[in-house]
């Protein structure tokens, strides 16, 4: 379970996140939508404890798999060594490396130095480290960024399976409405740090029109 309750976060005098409340249940994939600078990444960092809120509470049951927007690893290490290092940091017992390499579609890149990976390959290594230890919750910041169309389809299938097969709670941010339509059970829209919609995907007839209307109304407000 991922839970945010009345979250407030300010940068200087500006409120980047204002009274944000929502939850993501186990087995649910929730899309977190909003224009640039709306507060998506800040909310995610608050949930993970990477930022401290000025108000409200954030919690995640158990460990969380996290994929940041700009994923970076240690260039000098091979992919397998890097994953082994992160597994140690997560105190994961047993060898989970080969499973996550396969699940993230990077089984053939295990011995390659991180420095020699393309942007899309790095993103998939980032996904692999998030999968380590089969966490009960995932916070994924634009997980298909930089992937080619085939990898996008594979990653969407993987994320969907995290909820359906593993029963994990998944919160993912994206700018692609098609991605939300393909993967998510529910959509949360955030504009100027405030949540303006939290609805099941099935209730939205035309996601694009609904999103643009919500953003437009909030920007004018």
């Amino acid at each position: 379970m991922i839970q945010a309750s009345g979250l407030i976060r300010r940068y200087g005098g500006r409120e980047a996140v204002r009274d944000v409340t929502f939850s993501v249940a186990p087995g649910e994939v929730v899309g977190f939508l909003g224009p640039n600078g709306a507060g998506k990444s800040t909310t995610m960092r608050l949930l993970l404890g990477l930022l401290r809120p000025h108000g409200g509470t954030a919690s995640i049951d158990g460990n969380a798999g996290y994929l940041p927007e700009q994923f970076a690893a240690y260039d000098a290490l091979s992919v397998r060594s890097y994953l082994r290092f992160i597994a140690r940091m997560k105190a994961i017992e047993g060898d989970d490396i080969e499973r996550v390499l396969g699940a993230a579609g990077v089984a053939d890149l295990g011995d390659r130095p991180v420095a020699r990976l393309s942007k899309g390959q790095r993103q998939r290594v980032g996904m692999a480290q998030a999968l380590l230890g089969r966490p009960g919750a995932y916070v994924l910041d634009e997980p298909t960024q930089g992937l080619d169309p085939k990898q996008v389809v594979e990653t969407r299938g993987l994320i969907r399976s995290l909820a359906t097969a593993d029963g994990a709670a998944v919160l993912l941010s994206t700018h692609l409405l098609a991605e939300v339509a393909a993967m998510c059970d529910r959509v949360i829209v955030i504009v100027r740090g405030r949540i303006v919609a939290d609805e099941p995907l099935g209730d939205m007839d035309d996601l694009e029109a609904r999103f643009l209307r919500l953003v437009g109304e909030s920007e004018l407000a």
């Binding site: 990477l50 930022l51 969380a64 996290y66 970076a72």
Partner: protein, 221 residues
């Protein structure tokens, strides 16, 4: 990761080139096979070397975003800082290690007293521990490697030259206690004074506690 970059190799080569020239010059002037001049020379060169070894430690992790991945994986600030300091200190000792060859050289030339040698190298090791502590602290305060190096160098110089004000009444005697140069001089003379050891240990602990607080403090920025 430090040894996968050229930094320790380049820094080590330049350190020993400079130390070798200065020490041999000192021996030529004194026309005596004594180790004592080595320690203040090595100490002063360490002032420059240590910031270069530590500048990446936390600043680079923060800049690239790998710090977020580590913290999301559950790595706490204190073990992170301690790990960074141990790595930097051990690296500085490894870079210093070839200076032991001067002992062989002196033994070949004459019959040097082993007491000052042992005490001097213990002093240098403690001095390196303090400088790497200051360096890790500086690196925890910024996301810029050059800024971290400059701040660390400034802090180190402040402690090194603290005794220059020893003419001033009251303040002088107080500042003399803070002087790293004076503490190192005490070791170089062959004295293993517990108050000097305690001072170095205290400084290391203080810098690491402050660095851990600075890492935690990033969540408030």
């Amino acid at each position: 990761m430090l040894w996968s970059s050229p930094i320790p190799y380049v820094v080590g080569a330049l350190f020993h080139l400079a130390l070798g020239m200065l020490f041999v010059d000192q021996l030529a002037v004194r026309r005596q096979a004594v180790i004592q001049p080595l320690f203040p020379l090595a100490g002063f060169l360490l002032l420059v070397m240590a910031p270069l070894l530590t500048m990446r430690s936390i600043a680079e992790e923060a800049r690239t975003g790998t710090l977020d991945v580590l913290q999301a994986a559950g790595v706490r600030a204190r073990p992170l800082v301690l790990g960074k300091w141990v790595a930097a200190w051990v690296t500085s000792l490894a870079v210093l290690a070839p200076a032991l060859l001067f002992v062989l050289l002196l033994a070949w030339w004459g019959d040097p007293d082993p007491g000052p040698m042992i005490a001097g190298f213990v002093g240098l090791a403690l001095f390196a521990a303090t400088l790497t502590g200051l360096g890790v602290l500086a690196s925890s305060l910024t996301s810029s490697q050059p800024v971290a190096a400059i701040v660390a160098l400034f802090l180190a110089l402040l402690f090194w030259f603290a005794d220059v004000a020893d003419d001033a009444p009251r303040a002088g005697s107080l500042l003399l206690r803070f002087s790293l140069r004076e503490r190192l001089r005490s070791f170089a003379s062959g004295a293993l004074d517990t108050s000097d050891v305690a001072w170095f240990v205290l400084l290391v602990v203080a810098t690491l506690v402050l660095a851990a607080q600075a890492v935690e403090g990033r969540k408030l920025r």
